[in-house]
Amino acid sequence: MIFLYSFIFCGLVCLIGQIILDNTTFTPGHVTGLFVVIGAFLDSFGLYDKFIKWFGAGACVPITSFGHSLIHGALKAAEDKGLLGLLGGMFSLTSVGIVAAIVFGFILTMIFKARD
């Protein structure tokens, strides 16, 4: 059943993104930036944690989970180290995605050429 929930949640997030793209002058960059901020906002009430519990990977795949991971890591570190932890723990959960994107992107850029 969690497969269906994943499908529906991830699909709905993408649908909202598509509706914003179609009906406003926003570019994909605006939409992804907006979604990250929304994700961080939702997690400041602990709401996004519940989404992940209910929808599994469906809530981890959209870019909103990037904002969620940023604030989640920061708050976790803040429990131990206070305000310094907010700065230090910010990337503790997201670094997997960012580093993977940078490293794979760079290696593949070295191998392949621009098409055109």
Binding site: Q18, I19, G97, F112, K113
Partner: protein, 146 residues
């Protein structure tokens, strides 16, 4: 008269239908990516006994790797123009933006090309994500006790 009326009706209907089609495509493609992610997590947990947190991270790495390879091979742009937000909103869009901005500026050199432009598209995601997370985190920490 009849023709004009017909045109009026189609003008009113066609763009709407297009938006509907875009929405449905984005919903299905985006949903499929979520489903693939969930299947990867499920397989990793059941077959390889990976803990849930690690399985999610591995799933994200796999999706980023697939998206980066597709971008480097050059057919991800076509997929995005068809699936639209269905591929932009998931983490695949992040990997695509990163790899494509690096590849596009490769001919300008390692530093002024790749180095300077790597975060051209993803920079906004990281910048606004970090700033908003810091502000919301500070509010939560100071006023609601972490």
């Amino acid at each position: 008269m009849n023709k004009e009326r017909y045109k009026e009706i189609t003008d009113r209907i066609v763009p709407k239908e297009d938006k509907l089609k875009n929405g449905i495509t984005a919903f299905i493609i985006g949903g499929l990516i979520g489903l693939i992610g969930e299947i990867i997590v499920f397989v990793l947990e059941k077959e390889f006994n990976v803990p849930n947190k690690d399985a999610t991270s591995i799933m994200i790495v796999i999706l980023i790797f697939i998206a980066s390879v597709c971008t480097a091979l050059g057919f991800f742009d076509n997929l995005v123009s068809k699936a639209k937000a269905g591929l932009i909103v998931p983490i695949t869009g992040f990997a695509h933006a990163m790899t494509s901005s690096m590849i596009d500026y490769k001919k300008e050199g390692l530093i002024t090309g790749i180095g300077a432009n790597a975060f051209k598209l993803t920079g906004s995601v990281i910048l606004y994500g970090v700033v908003s997370a810091y502000i919301f985190g500070t509010i939560r920490y100071l006023f609601f006790g972490g």
